[in-house]
Each structure stands twice: as structure tokens, then as C-alpha cells.
Symmetry: C2
Subunit: 333 residues, 2 copies
């Protein structure tokens, strides 16, 4: 059996914000899978901030996308035809060949569906974003019960989990920032944040000081820029920062100025640490067990924003970069 | 017995660089020591960068100096009269009441003189600066054998020790920066640095890239500002920064801009950590044993710049802030 797969390719490298012209659609014939391969029909694909970086022709922790080739990214799919003993048509797998309707995969993770939990969560609350939130909070920022935790980009895929994980692990107080009044209301009304603010409402430093009058112990940084400066000002002695990303600058041609208060690292004994989740898959099982429990018992609110159809994937990707999603942005195929 | 002690007081708080007007000399009568006290004649006193911070009326990790009161700081002295069993006149002690000819002390560390080693080293290569270099390099920056280490302020009290400790512990390469051609020559000719540069010679980022073509694993930061940005650019994956101080800005009224490349913390998985040596005195014994060996066997070059007489202490302090010392600045009384 062969199938016609539709895929999205990188037509040209964006300078600044991507546009439609950077993407091209193409149909390709996929043969039957060879030994060790699976032919998979993708049912959900992920759009994530790191993908913007891979569109540039620069060396980074993952290689750049190649011009004229299909884009890649996390996807959940159903096996159509199997070249692997023990894997049957209809089985569910997680793999790295998203941005296409079907894929021939040789690297994948077999998934066990959880009753009442959408398989799309393996791209979010039980997937890479969850592992990022879990490792960032617990291992990098060394979260301890009672800590006051500030999360930026708190309505995003990683941020909404980081804040909730802090709450579920016994934080003293959880504070989030986001880019609209709706998102802010959502954080406090639905996700159980103790306080939240819209960073467009004024000076981030003042907004954070109002929300955290006694300071913070942990900052989970999804944003960079002025948020990091504000967090350094608010951190108490021995505070820790997990530097997870700088979504605010992925499309900027000039890097923003750094924090003006780096000297506070000394007197306050602060630690700032960047991390890449690829290094931490040894923590996946611990995360999945603990978070799976929270999901199954309804303690964790795992939000998703869906876009429908492969043709809408570029728009979903841009919308995610602009912050139009609440929780994980997923394309439903 | 009572003695007339001469002391230096904080007459007014400096704004920017201190001047003579900020200091006042006074004579006070000290009585015989009570029980638990020692009357000490100071023989050496330390001038250190952190003292500038204590001249400001701001909350910090040490309380500010009080107006009209004598300044404080590390000192080595000889017991003149003892109110403590087991301590006799002539014994040597380390204590915190410098900036005066004599002191009545109740908190002190008894010192055992080392043959051929000046007691002034207990203010430097065997004292607080040594502990700062030792803890910063080994515990905060997690130095490992083979690492390439960059030290800024490398001709200073802490920096000259940090670079040599790295060499003696098996660094792959040790690079230093300093503020004059003489100091740079000294680092490579006398202290065993593999490379050094004068940061006034050009763009620190380019100077460091030339000195460390394969990048660095550890940065020991005594300076802040553009050096930190240059180090972030040069650090290899999993690099670590011990943030020890920002002498470049202690007298600035406006904080300098922060590093423009903080986003590199993520992809390179960098750690930046500030520390205060007061938290780490549990490491004093380990440091003193290891460093004492290096000193006794001549493997460590422990330099001192001496100023003579209490009257010259303010000038010595200012000279240290301006970088006129090579190695530890000590006032000989």
C-alpha cells in the first residue's frame, strides 16, 4: 500500500516574522514501510516556539530546517501499516515528523491511550511542554514547598503547566504574567494562580512588585527581556531562575538590552540557569507518572487551542508566536 | 593598662568616588579588656571592594557603616592584654575591627604563624580573598580538571588566586584580563596564566575570543558589565559563571546595561550564580589546608601591595578601587 501524503516545506527563510511565502505545500507518494518502519497517519501535530529558531540558518542545539524540505515537529499518529513486530495498524505513536498528513517513521514512542484523556495531550500536558515545565521547576529552579513562584508566558503551553505544577507541589504563592486581560482572568479563575497581571498594563517591575509584595523565590522565565530584570529585582536571597526561552525576541533582529541589575546576583546569591529539554528525557517517566495522576484525577487543567487541518498549520504557528493560544496550540489533522 | 587608639571614622557618605572628606581621624581611650575580650594592636589591616558598598546607606548583605563611627574590616593583630584563658600577650589573631591602631575584640580567630609566610597573608592568600576564589571556582563554578577558565580582575586579590587555583587544579587553559600592560605581563610571566589581555585595548568580546579560540567552560566574574557579555558569548555548552562582584560599577550612579546576549543561556545551557563568601566559611578549613600547602611549597605566588601607616589607609582604599594594587592591598600598621 502506498499513500499520497501532503506536507509543508520551508520555501524560504524568514527575516523577522514569518509570512505565507516562507511555506510551500507539496504532495508526495509514500511507499509501504520497510522493516523497522511504520507508515503513520498523523492525527495531531504540534507547533512550538523553538521551530522559529530552526527556520534560521544558524547552528543551534537542533539543526536548522533545510530549504525545500518538509518541516519537522512533534506529532501523534495512528499506524496505517507496520513494518515492526508487535506494532499493529491502529496503534498510537508519538514521533518527530509533524507538518505532514502521513509519515514513514523509524523513531517513535508507542503510546498507551488514557481513558478520558485526548491523545493530543501527548504533545502538551503529558509531552515535551510538560517535561519542560517539570524539569525547569523542580531540577533547574530547585523548587521547594512554600516557595513563591513567578511564571512568565503563564498562559502558554509550558507556562500554564509550570504554574500549576508549582501549585500542586505546594507553592506558597503562584504568580503569572500574560499578554491580555482574558488570559490573566483565566490564570486566576481557572488555573488556580494566586495572582496574575497583564504585562502590557505598565512597568513589569512595578506590576510584579504589586503581585508579590514579599518577593519571590523562583522565576520560571519563558520571556526574557524586561521580565527577567523585574524578576531579578523581586527575587529574595538564594532565589533561582529557570531560563526556558525568550519568545519575546525570536523574531527580533536586534537582541534586546539585558537586565540592568545583574549586580544583584551577588548580594542576593541568585542563580540563573538555562536548559534544553532534550538533555532531560531521563526524567520523562517520573513526570508522566506524577502528571498522569493529576490529569486523571482532574487536578490539572490541561488546556488546548486547536487549529483544524494541515492547511492551517502555518497560521496556527504564527498565532502561537503572537500569543493567540491559551495552553498548548495543536493542529488537528 | 589602657591605650590611646587612633581610628578612622566615616565622616560623610560618598556619592560616587570617595574623597578625603568622607574620612575623619580620631583618638579614643581603650580600657583594659574585660572577661572574654582581647586588647589587640593591629599589625595589618585589609582594604576590600565590599567596603565601598557599606559606605552607602542601603540594606545589603552586611549592614552599612554608621556615620561618625569607626569603619570596620579584616585585620591581623598581636594581643597586648588578654581577658581570655589560653590567649597570651604576643599571640596572633584575625578579627573584624580594622581601620584603627588598636581594638578591643571579642570575636576573633587565633592564628598559627606559618614559617616563612607573612601573617598579612591571613588577609589574602590564606584569608577571605582565598576562600572567595576557592569557593567561587570549585563550588559555584563547579570547576573540573581540563576546563578552560577565564578570570576578570585577574591581577586583583581574588582574581590572582582564582586563576592560580585553576592552574594548580589542572585547568586546560587559564586566561585573565586586567587593566594595564604591566599587569597583563605579570599574569603570564609570574602567575602562570596561559594568556591575558588588557581590557582597555579594544572590544572585550574580541579580545577574549582571540585569547580563547576554543571557548571557555568557566568564567570567574569580578567585573560585570561588558566582560560578562563577552564571557556569555565565549562560554561552551554547560558553561558556568561564578558572579563574585562588579567592581566596575561600585562607584557608578547609573547601573550599566546588562548583557545583550542573555538568550544564549538557553541554547548553551549556561549557569550564572552569584555568591557571598560569608555563607561559605564551612569550606575554610579545606581551603586553608590545600592553599597552605601550595604557599609553603612555593607553588602559589601570593602577591601583596603594602601601604604604610594608618594615615594612608584611605588612600590605599581608593587606590585599590582604582586598581593600583597587584594582588592583595594591605595596610601595614
Amino acid at each position: 500500500m502506498s499513500v499520497t501524503a501532503r506536507e509543508i516545506r520551508l520555501a524560504s527563510r524568514p527575516s523577522g516574522w514569518p509570512t505565507d511565502e516562507n511555506f510551500a505545500f507539496a504532495d508526495v507518494e509514500l511507499p509501504s514501510p520497510g522493516a523497522g518502519e511504520l507508515l503513520v497517519r498523523n492525527t495531531f501535530m504540534s507547533v512550538d516556539p523553538y521551530m522559529r529558531g530552526r527556520m534560521n540558518d544558524v547552528k543551534s542545539y537542533t539543526p536548522p530546517y533545510e530549504l525545500g524540505k518538509a518541516l519537522e515537529g512533534g506529532a501523534v499518529g495512528e499506524v496505517v501499516e507496520s513494518g515492526v513486530d508487535g506494532v499493529a495498524p491502529g496503534d498510537l505513536v508519538l514521533h518527530g515528523l509533524g507538518w505532514r498528513s502521513h509519515a514513514l517513521v523509524s523513531e517513535y514512542t508507542a503510546l498507551t491511550p488514557i481513558a478520558g484523556v485526548s491523545p493530543s495531550h501527548f504533545l502538551g500536558a503529558l509531552g515535551m511542554p510538560a517535561l519542560t515545565a517539570y524539569v525547569g521547576l523542580l531540577d533547574i529552579a530547585e523548587f521547594k514547598q512554600g516557595d513563591t513562584v513567578f511564571v512568565s508566558g503563564a498562559a502558554g503551553a509550558v507556562g500554564s503547566l509550570a504554574g500549576q505544577f508549582a501549585r500542586l507541589k505546594g507553592a506558597g504563592r503562584v504568580i503569572g504574567s500574560a499578554g491580555s486581560a482574558d488570559k490573566v482572568a483565566h490564570l486566576t479563575n481557572k488555573l488556580g494562580f494566586d495572582a496574575a497581571f497583564n504585562y502590557r498594563d505598565g512597568d513589569v517591575r512595578e506590576l510584579l512588585a504589586d503581585a508579590a509584595p514579599d518577593g519571590i523565590e523562583v522565576y520560571f522565565d519563558n520571556v526574557g527581556g524586561d521580565h527577567l530584570e523585574a524578576a531579578i529585582a523581586a527575587l529574595n536571597t538564594n532565589g533561582r531562575v529557570a531560563v526556558c526561552g525568550s519568545i519575546s525576541m525570536y523574531n527580533e533582529k536586534e537582541p534586546p538590552p539585558g537586565p540592568h541589575n545583574m549586580h544583584l546576583l551577588v548580594g542576593k546569591r541568585l542563580k540563573l540557569q538555562g536548559f534544553i529539554i532534550l538533555d532531560h528525557y531521563d526524567r520523562f517517566r517520573a513526570m508522566a507518572e506524577e502528571v498522569g495522576q493529576w490529569l486523571a484525577t482532574g487536578k490539572l487543567v490541561a488546556e488546548e487551542t486547536f487549529a483544524d487541518g494541515l492547511d492551517n498549520a502555518p497560521a496556527a504557528f504564527l498565532g502561537m508566536l503572537r500569543g493567540e493560544n491559551t495552553g498548548k496550540m495543536v493542529v488537528r489533522l
